[in-house]
Amino acid sequence: MTTVLESLNRGLHQAFSQDPRVYLIGEDLLDPYGGTFKVSKGLSSQYPDRVWTSPVSEAALAGVGAGMALRGLKPVVEIMFGDFSALIADLLINSISKFRSMYNGQVEVPLVIRTPMGGRRGYGPTHSQTLEKIYLGVPGLRTLVANTLADPGDLLCKAILEDPGPVFFIENKLLYLNPVLAYQALQDFEIELSTPAESYAPTHTLRINGAPPAALTLAAYGYMAELAREAMLRLAFEHEIFCELVVPCQLSPLAPQGALDTALANSLQHTQRLLSIEEGTYTLGWGAEVLARAAPALPGQLKAARRLAAADKPIPASVPLEEGVLPGTHEIVEAARSMV
């Protein structure tokens, strides 16, 4: 069994060993610590010249990474908590994502910025957020999110070595210790893989093995896809409601009729009901985009559409209060039951 954490660490090691242009910069990276969530463990020992532990200067790190990428290196910048992505927002929005276009395609920015998002660890309002939705509408930036179905280390390694960039790579804190799932180990599920033309990041569709036709399509990414899978089993075994689950790795850009649109359209053709599930806040979230993209695929036929997301509130530190703000398996089951 490999955990998501081990897989990501292996992906980084693989990228370092395959290409001497790969560098890692961020805070507290040096062994034996190896980064706050240990994703960078072992790298500073093996590649001391290419791992630069830094002061607490997120904006400058993003900028330095951009400059290195402009000049032919393949830097990876680790931002300790996704919440601190707010500190690099200017660099992301006005430099990193713009260079290629505003310099008329004369440059590439093969930069990967990695950061963990998500709550449920009692870290409170400024260390628990799911903020990627802020960046999903920024042109020129690819946002990828790890999950347990598409090997996260493989995805990260490809983002570093093969993507002309820039890539904003989202990890979920709670996902780190979950096992990467081999398809054959998922005995309850049948998995369809749509390999999109525009991306190396796959979109998966899960169905319960041998189940009757699904009545509802779920869409979720990252750690919420784990909860959605649990909810699917409960809905099937406890309520005889059968669902399909669409799990994208790439949140942006979304090509028209790309992998996500296609997977949703294929599923909705027979379910005609869509529930989007995310850990970010409800208003103007990823789910709003998913529903808006799905609706034209089924003119006049969409029978039910709903979004499940975090409440539009800061995330409390106290775990029982936090549970009241973030959607869990129970909320997914109840939302699904209300739609069928």
């Binding site: 560098y23 630069w52 830094s54 002061p55 200067s57 904006a59 400058a60 790190l61 993003a62 900028g63 330095v64 990474g65 951009a66 400059g67 290195m68 990428a69 402009l70 000049r71 032919g72 290196l73 830097p75 200017d90 660099l91 006005n94 430099s95 713009k98 260079f99 276009s101 505003m102 310099y103 008329n104 004369q106 440059v107």
Partner: protein, 298 residues
């Protein structure tokens, strides 16, 4: 560009920037340009003096007031006019406009201060690759209000980036005088990070060039970072027609601090007149060509 270091070469470059910017300001009301512009009038000697010492492969990062830096770097006048006109033949095919230029190793961005970490990263990349290239970044006094600049000074010093920070203090940020925006001293902000800092208050291109030459020499020999603080004077508005300064004070600045007057006096009057005529013709031709150039296909 060693040829540009002789007296006539330096004067030619000063004149090219001056004439380009005058043409831009004169022609703006006719609607030939899109967007806005930030002219380098009065500061020409900084770009010309500093960039006279670039070696092949060196990098330049610039800001919103980038035309002078671009021209001193060797950028093409027609392509720059065309970029301001949104033409296909522009430096960036009309995608960048006045503030967002990239050609060879020249990069500019209009978000103040954001260029500092990018330039430091580029300098570190050149060092990591083992190239001998140096990086020069022009920052204005206005950019010193941005926090990321200090993060960048710290990283540059900590990681020994081969970079020359050129701080152009023109005493005014848009309409705000420096004394309303900047506490303490500029050079102390650099030396606090262990960055050796040389300060000049001059519009004499030869004096600036000599100082910059020494800084480049030290940087190539001993590594970096280093800094040049250049107290200078902006003759024109921040962009167009938004100068709130007193006309008398402006007249005095122009009378005392014009780089073309200061350096032009060193040339024989005949040579000076013929250089000026050549530049006028060159700029006029570039402007005309750019006007005839096509807009990009949509």
């Amino acid at each position: 560009m060693p040829a540009m270091r002789d007296a006539a070469g330096l004067y030619r470059q000063l004149c090219r920037i001056r004439r380009f910017e005058e043409t831009v300001l004169d022609a703006f009301p006719t609607g030939v340009f899109y967007g806005t512009t930030h002219t380098y009038l009065g500061q020409e000697a900084n770009a010309v003096g500093v960039l006279a010492h670039l070696a092949e492969g060196d990098l330049v990062f610039s800001n919103h007031r980038c035309h002078g830096h671009f021209i001193a770097y060797g950028g093409d006048l027609r392509a720059l006019f065309a970029e301001l006109m949104g033409k296909a033949t522009g430096v960036c095919g009309g995608l960048g406009g006045s503030q967002h230029l990239h050609w060879k190793n020249f990069y500019s961005n209009g978000v103040l201060g954001s260029t500092a970490p990018v330039a430091v990263g580029a300098a570190l990349a050149e060092k990591a690759k083992g190239s001998q290239a140096l990086t020069v970044i022009f920052l204005g006094d206005g950019a010193l209000g941005e926090g990321v600049v200090y993060e960048s000074f710290n990283l540059a010093s900590l990681w020994k980036a081969p970079i020359l920070f050129v701080l152009e203090d023109n005493h005014i940020a848009q309409t705000t005088p420096t004394e309303l925006a900047l506490a303490g001293s500029i050079s102390a902000r650099l030396t606090a990070f262990g960055i050796p800092c040389r300060e000049l208050d001059s519009s004499d291109v030869q004096e600036l060039s000599a100082a910059a030459g020494e800084e480049f020499g030290a940087l190539r020999q001993a590594g970096g970072p280093r800094a040049l603080v250049l107290h200078t004077q902006r003759f024109g508005p921040h962009s167009k027609g938004d100068d709130t300064r007193d006309q008398k004070a402006l007249d005095k600045i122009r009378a005392e601090r014009d780089p073309l007057t200061i350096h032009g006096g060193r040339l024989a009057s005949k040579q000076r007149a013929s250089l000026e005529a050549e530049v006028r013709a060159e700029v006029a031709a570039a402007f005309k060509q750019a006007q005839a150039d096509p807009l990009p296909a949509q």
